[in-house]
Amino acid sequence: MDTELIIIKEYIQQANIEPQFIALLEENGLIHIQEMDNERYLPADELTEVERYARLYYDLSINMEGIDAIHHLLDRIYALQDEMRTLRNQLRFLE
């Protein structure tokens, strides 16, 4: 399946984000930048995550190590919430 790509140069200008921030996210393996013909792209399905990381970084002054830890913890929270929802529905079935 083709993924929509966003030109990073244009995105950081529009969103008023520093290029170093994107570089830090990439270094920490939090985003997966693609390069074609000397142009760097961000997969569109990673945009929501980048926006979240930007809020954590700029609004809450959380450093990259903290963001990385939060990223893992949030994944676990989402998985647990999904599991809780499934179990609640199963419990409802048994009632």
């Binding site: 008023n16 984000i17 954590l56 949030l74 409802r92 079935f93």
Partner: protein, 311 residues
């Protein structure tokens, strides 16, 4: 003065941030940062109370970190309902009251209905004290708008069919398509339907949680449905046919001779639609409830006796 004012609560912004009234701007900033890290919606997914708390923190920070707003809040805050009287007193005393700036009743805006914190993120108290204008733009960076969340209640049958629903979000009507097969408490995200972004950044997202009601006939487990079917003892013993309720109406199914009470049969693809997989369905599991006759006629009793003798 409209009576609705009596219901509008004063908000102690210092208490919200856990600081004293003498706290410096730096203390305000520190307290806000610390609490924001705890209650930020990005760190508390699907937690309404944290979202509410975060809005309260933002509002407190907006007022207390802005010297002008803080001055106005400190001057009138707790007694904001009596701003008119203060103003009168100030005029009578030749403007000597309080020694601060001059405020007119218009500064307090129009008094609206009480709704606490709305999706827009400001309490009525704030709106009335500072009005809609003059909010601090704060960051120069562009950031995505606030995410909104809400619930849509569906009947069991509605959840089994792809259909359109109109919902209202902050006064705006949205027509959404609910795909067949949604589960109870399932959440979907509508990108860009949340609060507006700042400085040209995209709008926030809207998270909708579906609440699916139970059904008196069917029980659901994932995509499979469970239904109980009464079978008379003769059909259970000799076999026969039975009409079974499905989501599409009744279907005829064969009952094997010697069917035991509580035994189950599976009707393939007669269950709940699989979410976002058109044409795919779960199974319908039928549990046989064998009905033993209670009021036998003399003749029936005799026949059962004869059956007993044949054992």
């Amino acid at each position: 003065m409209p009576s609705i004012l009596n219901y509008m609560a004063y908000i102690d912004y210092y208490k919200t941030l856990g600081i004293s009234k003498t706290a410096s701007t730096d203390d305000v900033k520190k307290a806000y940062r610390k609490l924001a890290r705890k209650y930020h919606p990005d760190l508390n997914p699907n937690d309404k109370s944290a979202h509410q708390k975060f809005q309260e923190l933002n509002e407190a920070n907006e007022v207390l970190s802005d010297p002008e707003k803080r001055k106005k809040y400190d001057e009138y805050g707790e007694n904001w309902k009596h701003a008119d009287q203060f103003e009168q007193a100030r005029q009578q005393q030749g403007g000597g009251f309080g020694g601060g700036g001059s405020y007119s009743a218009q500064d307090f805006g129009d008094f609206g209905g009480f709704s606490g914190f709305g999706g827009g993120g400001y309490s009525d108290f704030f709106e009335n004290l500072f009005g809609g204008a003059g909010r601090r733009s704060g960051r120069t960076s562009a950031f995505k708008g606030q995410d909104y969340s809400g619930e849509v209640h569906l009947s069991f049958r509605e959840a089994a069919q792809t259909h359109k629903q109109t919902i209202e979000v902050n006064g705006k009507k949205l027509r959404i398509t609910v795909p067949a097969g949604v589960s109870n408490e399932q959440q979907i995200k509508l990108k860009g339907q949340g609060g507006p972004g700042s400085n040209g950044a995209p709008a926030g997202d809207l998270y909708i949680t579906f609440i699916v009601q139970s059904d008196p006939v069917f029980k659901r487990n994932g995509n499979d449905l469970y239904v109980n079917a009464d079978v008379d003892v003769y059909t259970a013993v000799l076999g026969g046919e039975l009409l079974i309720d499905t989501l599409d109406g009744k279907v005829k199914m064969k009952v094997k001779p010697g069917t035991q009470p509580g035994s189950k049969a599976r009707l393939k693809e007669k269950g709940f639609p699989v979410y976002k997989k058109e044409g795919q369905f779960g199974d319908l599991i039928v549990t046989y409830n064998v009905q033993v006759p209670t009021n036998l006629t003399e003749k029936q009793k005799k026949l059962f006796e004869e059956l007993k003798q044949t054992k």
